[in-house]
Amino acid sequence: MKNPYFWLMAILLVVLWFPTLCFIENVVAGKGMALIKIEGTSDNSQATTGEKEKIKSAIGCSLLVGVPAALLASVIGLCCVYILRKPKAANLGGVILLIPLMTPPRAMGIAFASLRNCARLDPGLIPIIMAHVYLFLPIAYYLHLLRFKDLSASRFECAQNLGARRWQIFRHVVLPHQRIAFFAAFLMCLAFSWGEPIIANSLAGTNSTFAVVIMQMMRSALSNRVYTAAGMSFLATLVPVIVGAFILWNATNLARKEKQYE
């Protein structure tokens, strides 16, 4: 390799991917049980029918939470990008939207449990959806912003000169341009929602999400099948992330090429 940066880059990437690679390696080798002992281990490799049902219902709950939460976060993120497009509002809004990212998750979970109590909602999926929308809104916002920056200001001016109203500009100029970012943000938020156990655990009643079930399984009894379930969950998270990242990367490259031609 002639590129002097290649090996340094490769080493740093391996370091960043350590936990992920290690997890996959352990799941594939099926030896996780022997290495990790927190409270106790179990050698049962056969899942009971009750457990299978629990996992199936948890996967269903995760999808029931993840899909609407990701959709809502993506829609609200897009609206935020559009209404906060003026420089001053964009700067201030960008900082304010960091609040959910900066707040400690444990404290956030308790705050949402308090909100649920105040709103007199029953423990269940709706409070988790609300919390996930809140939590992943910044991610959707910044992904939309990444794409929105490629939209030239002249298009807005053209639309305004042609007499378009705000809603018409949003509908005919912004929405078609942001379609790709919308899909990418949806996928990324879905991945986050799928793997988020702390807030879901604070809010879930009898219907736990898959991440919560896996966390409980890992804390109580560790076995190869727990690791396999966790590994599958982990890989399921990576798929939408990779697809979303590829879509955004491709769109950004195309936008750059278009700009070059212009």
Binding site: C22, L92, M102, F112
Partner: protein, 282 residues
């Protein structure tokens, strides 16, 4: 002008919505439910009583100090590899490949954090991959599981992608033509780093540190899983009340943690603004 004001109004509405959980924690922590004898009095009295109950609940100062030290140490240590990674991306690769590698580098951020933490426990464990690899090259290493060093190491790794994102975005602000022109004029790699990347690095340093710091400060899973309950951090302190099903004191503890985080965030924002202003005046 009018449009600008409307946009700012939207910002305040957004802030109001984002503050809803905090307000709920405030209401619950000052709630009149509970068995404590101190509950007599108005809203503020009850709130203060809950706060003091949470603070006296045990090891508060230790938890705050440990979290602060961990945040400063690990958030700071993550800056070096993150800056190196971003510099490698900027100087070593063309735009298209760089963007792809960047996504590969930050993909672990999107993967489930609690699973990653368990994975790290396996990696550090007795007979785990780290120990086996060290043994194969002739070193004998004690397992890093249940040690504070292991927790720090993992937190540095976990905070690294946050700092990488900040450095990468700011390094992208340097035009590729500028790098190419500098190379054509005979600048070596060290000079490129020193004269092109370093000024941007200095600008980004504080922001990147803040991201890493707040992540480490609020985290408790690493200490629970990798450290086996050590060191005692602020997240564990908050969790303790909630696990006792004492929602009022739990909400007060969460509120205190959030207020402390907000105060730190504001202090850091003020420091950043002040430094930038001073430099502009100079």
């Amino acid at each position: 002008m009018k449009g600008g004001r409307t946009s700012l109004l939207y910002v305040w509405i957004l802030l109001g919505i984002l503050m809803l959980p905090v307000a709920a924690a405030l209401i619950i922590s000052a709630g009149a439910e509970g068995t404590t004898a101190q509950l007599a009095g108005g809203f503020w009295d009850r709130l203060l009583n809950r706060f003091s109950e949470a603070i006296q609940g045990g090891q508060t100062l230790e938890a705050v100090l440990t979290s602060l030290i961990l945040g400063i140490l690990c958030g700071g240590a993550a800056l070096v590899p993150a800056a190196l990674l971003a510099a490698c991306l900027k100087l070593g690769f063309k735009r298209k490949r760089r963007a792809m590698l960047f996504w590969i580098a930050i993909a672990p951020l999107f993967a489930s954090y609690h699973l990653k933490t368990y994975a790290m426990r396996m990696f550090f464990a007795q007979g785990g991959p780290l120990q086996m690899a060290c043994q194969s090259i002739g070193f004998s290493v004690k397992p890093l599981v249940d040690t504070q060093f292991g927790v720090c190491l993992y937190l540095v790794l976990a905070a690294m992608p946050f700092a990488t994102v900040i450095f990468f975005i700011l390094f992208e602000g340097i035009a590729d033509q500028t790098v190419l022109a500098a190379r054509n004029l005979g600048a070596g790699e060290l000079r490129l780093i020193k004269q092109l990347l370093m000024p941007v690095f200095r600008k980004a340093l504080f922001t990147a540190f803040c991201f890493g710091f707040f992540f480490v400060f609020g985290d408790s899973l690493a200490a629970e899983v990798v450290g086996g309950g050590q060191p005692y951090v602020i997240g564990m302190w908050t969790k303790k009340f909630y696990e006792r099903a004492n929602i009022e004191t739990g909400a007060a503890a969460a509120l205190l943690q959030m207020l402390f985080t907000a105060a730190l965030l504001m202090l850091m924002g003020w420091l950043l603004t002040k430094t930038t202003r001073d430099k502009e005046q100079q």
